[in-house]
Each structure stands twice: as C-alpha cells, then as structure tokens.
Symmetry: C2
Subunit: 320 residues, 2 copies
C-alpha cells in the first residue's frame, strides 16, 4: 500500500470537474456499486464510511471521513478524510490517500457539474450563503465551467464575508449584510451547517439554480420547504439525499415528498433528465458520493508516485 499525502495543490478544477462529471454519468447509467454512506455517531461528531466501485474505470475503494463541529476550537479541522483504493481483481489495498482537501475539491466539482447543466447559459451572478472552505471550492470549481459576472457573499459573521470577497480576484465580488441580498443572483450556493432553513422561497427569482451543499446529515436544512415545493430538485443519490440531504427534513415532516424529486444529477449529465423550462427554479441537493471520491483518487494515483507504507516501517514493541 502506498501513502499519498495531500495532492490537492497538484490538481486543477478543469480536470477534476471532467472526472467528476464522468462518474456522475456512470452513476446515472446505473453502472456503479455504491451503498449509502454509513454513519457512526459520537457525542462530539460522527464518522462516515463510503465504499464504492466503478467497474468501467476498474476502480474500487472506500472513503473514511469524520465531521466534528467542535474541532476548530481545538485547532483541528472539522472534517478529515482518507481514501483507500482496492484492486478489484485481487482485493489488494493499493493506496492510502489523504483526502481532506480532495473532499473539498470533489464536492466543489459536483457543484460545477450541476451549474454547467442546470444554471442559465450566460454570465452569472453567483450568490454565496456561507463563506468557508466549501464556498471557495464551489466558486473555483464553477469558475472552470461558467462565466462569472459577479459574486455576492453572505456569512453569519460579516467579517468572514468581507475577507472572502476581498480575497476573490477573478471577478467582481462583494459582501452583503443580509441573506436576501445574496439571493438576488442567477446561481445560489449554500454551504452552511444550518439546521434551520435560512433561504426563504420568496427571495428566489424564477430561473435561479441553487447548489444546496450544506445539508449532509439527518436534521440539516438550508432551504425553506416551500422553496423545494416550488422547484425542480435534482439529488446526487436518492437514498443518501432522502436520508441526509437538503430534502431529508421536509420529507420527514411531510412538507415534501420523495416522489417529487426530479431526478439525479447523473441522469441530467446523460441527458435523461433536464430542467423543464428557463423559468424553473432548479436545486442540486448534494450529499457527496463515494464515487466522487474514487474519481479524484484516481487522478492522484495516476499523477503522483506516493510511497510504500511498509518500507522502512518497523513495529517497535515498547520497552518492557
């Protein structure tokens, strides 16, 4: 088994977006094995185990990733991830990959694929609700697929939105004081860990596309249920979205029904589903797929050499 430390700096969004789009297509065709991610919960957080295989790419493996919201107070990242790749023919575990930053990239890339297929085809005003690492990943990934006219950023802490807007150089960017202002856009990206809906339906114009990224566990919700009811919702994966995506709370409460989901992003990519009209509001409900992790891991092991873990490693019994 070879170890690959963080390789995100060697990867670019154009190549990652292509790889992610390919696996969404395979997912849309039903050509992957991907059981819903499994949660183990702790008082302080959880960890998720995400096994999958993509036969057409001769790829298999599992991502292991935690979410501990209190970690930053102790100087640790909230989310830390590794991917183990497995040779389908022999079962040998070939690679252990530091996947913390790769997880940000592959999630950003899914948002870019959704924007490419579901947002309007024109220079876009992008609204960001949330200004953390995933907001940055979404914006950079989308910039590789779409023309961006302007970026409008809201954060719970105004100084974070200011910092984000100030740091973004590729297009005009400004911070705003209210969520409603950020919703005055063509493409809205929500990346908060909220458990209370932040986005009110009345703030969203016809034709808007929304990447709903933040909700990835039961109980999380960023969009008012009435907005889902008005929109065409495309999920990354039915089972995962119903369990832990943006739709999970409204489905549990009865405010939304799983039968109303318009399709998966994979089905959109392969042309089986699409937005019904230019005026429709579309939502991409992202929970994060294990096949996305395999896709980005493949780039890493093809690009990098890694290092044998066993080599030079001796097990040292402690002194008696």
């Amino acid at each position: 088994m070879k170890y690959y430390p963080d390789a995100s700096g060697s990867l670019t969004y154009p190549e990652v977006n292509v790889a992610i789009e390919e696996v969404f297509a395979e997912h849309g065709r039903g050509n992957v094995q991907m059981p819903p991610k499994i949660y183990i919960t702790f008082p302080e957080g959880d960890f998720r185990t995400m096994p999958a295989s993509i036969p057409s790419q001769n790829l298999a493996g599992v991502k292991i990733v935690n979410v501990h919201p209190g970690n930053p107070a102790h100087g640790l990242p909230t989310v830390m991830a590794t991917i183990i790749l497995i040779n389908p023919a022999t079962g040998i575990q070939t690679a252990l990959i530091d996947a913390t930053a790769l997880t940000d990239m592959r999630t950003g890339a899914a948002g870019a694929v959704a924007a490419k297929y579901l947002a309007q085809k024109k220079p876009l005003t992008i609204g960001l609700v949330g200004s953390g690492r995933q907001a940055e990943a979404q914006l950079n990934a989308i910039a590789a697929e779409c023309d961006i006219e302007e970026v409008i950023v809201w954060s719970r802490r105004k100084e974070n939105a200011d910092r984000f807007a100030g740091a973004y150089q590729q297009s005009p960017a400004k911070s705003v004081r209210t969520i409603e202002e950020a919703c005055n856009c063509d493409l809205l990206v929500t990346t908060t860990p909220s458990r209370e809906p932040l986005i009110r339906s009345e703030w969203i114009q016809p034709g808007t596309h929304i990447n709903a990224i933040g909700a990835d566990a039961p109980g999380k919700q960023e969009l008012e249920s009435a907005l889902l009811a008005r929109a065409e919702v495309f999920v990354d994966d039915y089972e995962q979205a119903i369990h832990s995506g943006e739709v999970n709370v409204p489905i549990r409460s009865g405010a939304y029904s799983a039968e109303r989901i318009a399709g998966t992003l994979g089905e959109v990519v392969i042309g089986r589903k699409q937005r019904s009209s230019a005026d429709a509001i579309t939502i991409f409900d992202s929970t994060g797929l294990a096949v996305q992790d395999l896709a980005i891991a493949r780039i890493v092991v093809e690009r990098m050499e890694g290092k044998e873990i066993e080599e030079d490693n001796r097990l040292i019994p402690p002194a008696p």
Copy 2:
C-alpha cells in the same frame, strides 16, 4: 496516523479471547454501534467495509477486508485486511493496522468464547471440517479455554488433513477420510467455504456444540438445514447472520426461520441466554463482527508503538 504491521506474533490467545469476550458482552448489552458489514462485489471476489464503535472502551474504527478465492493461484492470500482506528472525540484517524492475521485470531477467539460457554465442561474431542488457517486459529483459541482430549481432522484433500494433524502437538490429533468420522466429537468446527451443506444432521450426537465459521456471505452453507432445525442456534449478530451467516440459505429457502434463532453469543456471555439442556445441540453461527476487530486492534495499539505514516513520506510527482 501510525502504521502497525502484522502484530499477531506478539499477541496470545488468552488475552485476545478475554478482549473478544468483553466486546461480545458489550454487544449483548446493546452498547455498541455496528451497522451490518457492507459488501462491494467484483467478478473475482468482494470487499467488505465494517465500521463500529464501542463507547465504553472509547474505541471506534473500520475494518476493510477482501475475499478473493482465486488469489492463492496467483500467490496472494484470499483474505487481506486493514483496520483504521478513529479517535471518537476528534475524528482523527490514529492507526492503520495490518489486520490479515489479526482477522484469523479474532475469529478464532469468537469460536473459543462460544466453546467456553456452549460446549460441554469436560475434556473435549474436537472435530475439524476444514484444515486451513481458520481451523488452526479456532483450535489454538479453543485450547486456551477448554481441555482438549483429541483432535479429528477432515479436509477435502486428505494430505492437508494429514499435515494439519501431524503438525498439531498439544493433544493427540488424527486425520480421517470421511466428514462423518470428524463429526463423532463433542465440539465440531466447520471452516470451509462450502455452498453445499457438508454436515448431515444424523451424524451429530446430542450435546454436541458446533462452531459454524465458514459461511460468511450470501449463498454459503456448511450444515444441513435439518441440523439447524434440530439445534439451538446462537448467532454473533442477527442482521449479519440472516444476511450472510450459516442460517442465510435455510432462511431464504424457508427451511429455517429467523424467529427460531436462540439468541446471540453476546447474550450468552452476559447470562441472558444459554443452552437449554446438556443434550441440546448448540450451534454458534459466526459471521465476524467489526467490534471483534476493534477489540484486537486495541491490544495492538496498546502493545506496540507503530510508526507515523507521514514522517519521511514525500509525495513524488513523476518526471514529466
């Protein structure tokens, strides 16, 4: 994250059996989180992902293990495993443990716990059907808990049984030509990958205890369904056993019913369940629990020092 190469040589069955018995007790009390193992299948085999946590031991993690029956023809083990341990408080992945040989030990130890509680309390004649690595693990683990009077070994290839019996020195051991002869025992241990029942009900005497170890995937079965119907079956875990244990085929065919399962080994360990009489035939249906892997991993990280994986590891981009 520290890497721990194979530490099985530093572990003894008395200590492993104690640790395994403890986690079966916690499982019996309902004090663990352990979703059923997840299977990803390939043309040549499969891999299984097994996450779990044991709050009382502050232990969490996941085992990743393959089963590729054709591997030995290519000079590779059929089964290869690693365990990743996770700090429940922070989600940090603390240890990557080579768990191939540990998997043999923790499975053997489960058989020893079952024998301790369910086999007769006297010097035992042990029948082995199957003479591979797991037969050896079972025998050595059981020898730490029970007096062994004699060992009778059958294998599909007689020379393997001869070799096994010749190599075992702790008690008298002999190989036999027929499965029926091996069944003339107090404690029968079956460790074959059979998909056809090998053990006929009429060969088993009242009072016999059977460790049914081989069946660990849908379609596998070692014992005639009529034998299950006659016996008191204790599973390691209901969901896993019904999906992939010795009972999976008879339940699917209707020859056995899940309601007839007598209990779990954990319930036996904590005294909530037991064999009903000295004459009852008891069966331990082992599928292998993720909490067993955590238990043996804990011994490894307490005993050994391992080595930081990141240290001295540089990611090398290949020459352009």
